[in-house]
């Protein structure tokens, strides 16, 4: 029993079409007067992975939540368009959106300990989307949940089915989160800093696991990360966010190797590399939400800023497959 979403009849399933799985155009999100996301443009092909990189407060998590439909009017105001498989998400009815969540679009939370309900067993929580979206019987749900737990590398899954979240380690909990997000074989997986809350030693494992599962399902994924290098390593494309705007976007090796936007360059030089002697932080701070500068939001901290930067927001210039939002690219 698959979900019955109102799909665009011209959607990507037509053979040979290059219709993106996810297409975000001029998408803005406002909370009251504050413009949290400003004119975001993204496209994601089926099977592609995108890394959303930026520092805290850049709006990456907000974008992820908006994509899965957990930020909607009247709490916030949305402008622009988000299309998933051709369906306009901003206009979607809540009931229809619900059929997508946990089903065709999955979300992995950063803090697995907090994202698991302490009063229910992990088996019950994994089985929830199985029941809601796939309508599996109780026995089937247990079997499927066991299989899912096995696929995310949880040892002795049958025993663990009836365990409560607090009885598992942080790494196990995150694996459970992954299992829940992947339960209905989503076409789009959103992962919000999936390894930030884990020990360094497990981070690589979990990252590998997610990538492996995503590839196995042929799904697309959006990874929200704050680490540029990790993003480049793990994703096909990278989009760098600053203060609610996408400042640079493109294939990850190219963006990492030769960043064009001053902010991306700054991010790269913030990281300590082998052989480098100095750490070069980006001066200044992200402006508060209610005091965003007109024009380019990065201008106050940009070494290249000129007058025009404070007046007009730079348009995204496309250059060999990349987009950069800056007046002074060289």
């Amino acid at each position: 029993m698959d979900c019955a979403v109102a799909l665009n009849p011209l959607a990507a399933d037509m053979p040979g079409s290059q219709e993106p799985l996810l297409e975000v155009r001029d998408f803005s999100l406002r909370r009251g007067k504050a413009v949290v996301l400003d004119g975001v443009n993204l496209a994601l092909q089926p099977g592609e992975t995108l890394g959303l990189i930026g520092e805290s407060g850049a709006g990456k998590s907000t974008l992820a939540l908006a994509l899965i439909g957990l930020l909607r009017p009247p709490e916030v105001q949305l402008e622009g368009s988000m299309r998933f498989r051709g369906t306009e998400l901003t206009q979607l009815r809540e009931a229809d959106y619900r059929r997508l969540r946990g089903n065709k679009i999955g979300l992995i939370f950063q803090d697995a300990t907090a994202a698991l309900n302490p009063c229910f067993t992990v088996g019950e929580q994994i089985a929830e989307p199985l029941k809601r979206h796939l309508g599996l019987s109780k026995w089937n749900r247990r079997e499927q949940a066991t299989a899912l737990m096995h696929s995310v590398g949880i040892p002795e899954p049958r025993l663990r089915l009836d365990a409560y979240p607090h009885e598992l380690s942080g790494g196990m909990q995150q694996r459970v989160m992954i299992a829940i997000a992947l339960a209905c074989n989503p076409e789009l997986l959103l992962a919000d800093e999936p390894t930030s809350a884990l020990d360094v030693t497990i981070q690589a494992q979990i990252m590998e696991l997610i990538l492996d599962r995503v590839r196995a399902l042929n799904s697309s994924a959006v990874f929200v990360l704050h680490d540029l290098a990790l993003g480049a390593q793990v994703c096909d494309r990278i989009a760098v966010m600053y203060a609610g705007q996408i400042v640079e976007e493109g294939p990850s090796e190219r963006v990492l190797a030769s960043p064009l936007h001053p902010y991306t360059r700054g991010l790269k030089s913030c990281v300590v590399e082998l052989g480098s002697r100095t750490l070069e932080p980006i001066p200044g701070q992200v402006p508060p939400l209610n005091a965003m500068p007109a024009g380019c939001r990065f201008a106050p901290r940009c070494p290249k800023a000129k007058a025009i930067c404070g007046e007009q927001r730079p348009l995204a210039e496309t250059r060999d497959g990349r987009q950069v939002a800056c007046w002074f690219i060289d």
Partner: protein, 293 residues
């Protein structure tokens, strides 16, 4: 309904709500305070504001409704309800505060001793407190009244005894917490005398939450006091006590509803006002409840 649920979706929500709710709380607490102030004024100036002697009987004028002579009517003995109301406020507030104060002092003393001395003293004292706390307050108060006999003074003692338990337990808990703080140890190492440590470090930190509790307890004290009097186990007639008045008015509920009605409304309003103030105080002192915005 979905719009209300959306609040959970925003990563840092509650910015607008944070403004509205504390205002609401503050306002209601202020309203409570204003009402209580009114009662205090009535109580303090009762002798001047009253029109009659509250215990003066005038059987000829009994069971009358509000009139020029008796502003709020009379009861079955012809006593003036308005005057009895005012003196009733006086009595309620006095008993309320006195019993709480007494219970506070005794309870804090026991809690301090238990917490500071530790060892066997603490064990014995706390078991006694446990025993006290094992009974519901009203039952305890009733038992004490049975032993002590009726009357206003005894009501104060009985209630005070019932309050010793909660205060003692609270104080001891706070003392234990404070005792283990680094600054106590620092003071000890510096050679400050034990008495000075208690006076200057332990007491101030223990006293403020206790005082907030005490404030909230006054409403319970007044409720218990009027309850006991209502049952006939509190003050003795003809003392002007709201509980007593309500009880006396029961039999006349159809023909003279004001006899129970007037003191009842007065009591209800005072208790609500005390509760509002107590809530406000509690929220003001407890930063975690700010989350409820």
């Amino acid at each position: 309904m979905s719009d209300a649920l959306n609040i959970t979706a925003t990563p840092d929500s509650q910015w607008k709500r944070r403004f509205m709710q504390p205002l609401l709380r503050q306002r209601s607490a202020m309203v409570g305070l204003a009402i209580i102030a009114l009662y205090v004024v009535a109580a303090v100036f009762a002798p001047w504001l009253a029109t009659h002697d509250p215990t003066a009987q005038d059987l000829m004028a009994s069971l009358q409704g509000p009139s020029a002579a008796h502003w709020l009517g009379t009861d079955s003995y012809g006593q003036d309800l308005y005057s009895r109301l005012l003196y009733g406020a006086q009595l309620a507030l006095i008993i309320g505060f006195a019993s709480v104060a007494l219970g506070l002092v005794a309870g804090v003393a026991i809690g301090l001793t238990a917490g500071l001395m530790g060892g066997r003293t603490e064990w014995v004292l706390m078991r006694i407190v446990d025993g006290l706390l094992a009974f519901p307050e009203l039952i305890l108060a009733m038992a004490f009244m049975a032993v002590l006999g009726l009357g206003t003074e005894n009501v104060v003692y009985a209630l005070a005894l019932s309050f010793v338990g909660p205060f003692a337990r609270m104080t001891r808990g706070d003392v234990l917490q404070v005792k283990n703080q680094p600054y106590i140890e620092a003071a000890q190492l510096m050679g400050v005398s034990t008495a000075a440590i208690i006076w200057r470090h332990v007491l101030p930190n223990v006293v403020s939450p206790i005082l907030v509790q005490a404030g909230m307890r006054v409403s319970i004290a007044i409720l218990l006091e009027s309850g006991l009097s209502f049952l006939g186990i509190g003050v003795v007639p003809p003392t002007p006590d709201w509980g007593l008045m309500i009880s006396e008015g029961r039999g006349f509920i159809t023909m003279a509803p004001w006899i129970s009605g007037v003191p009842g409304v007065a009591l209800a309003i005072l208790l609500v006002a005390l509760n509002l103030l107590g809530d406000g105080l509690r929220d003001a002192f407890d930063p975690t409840t700010q989350k409820d915005a």
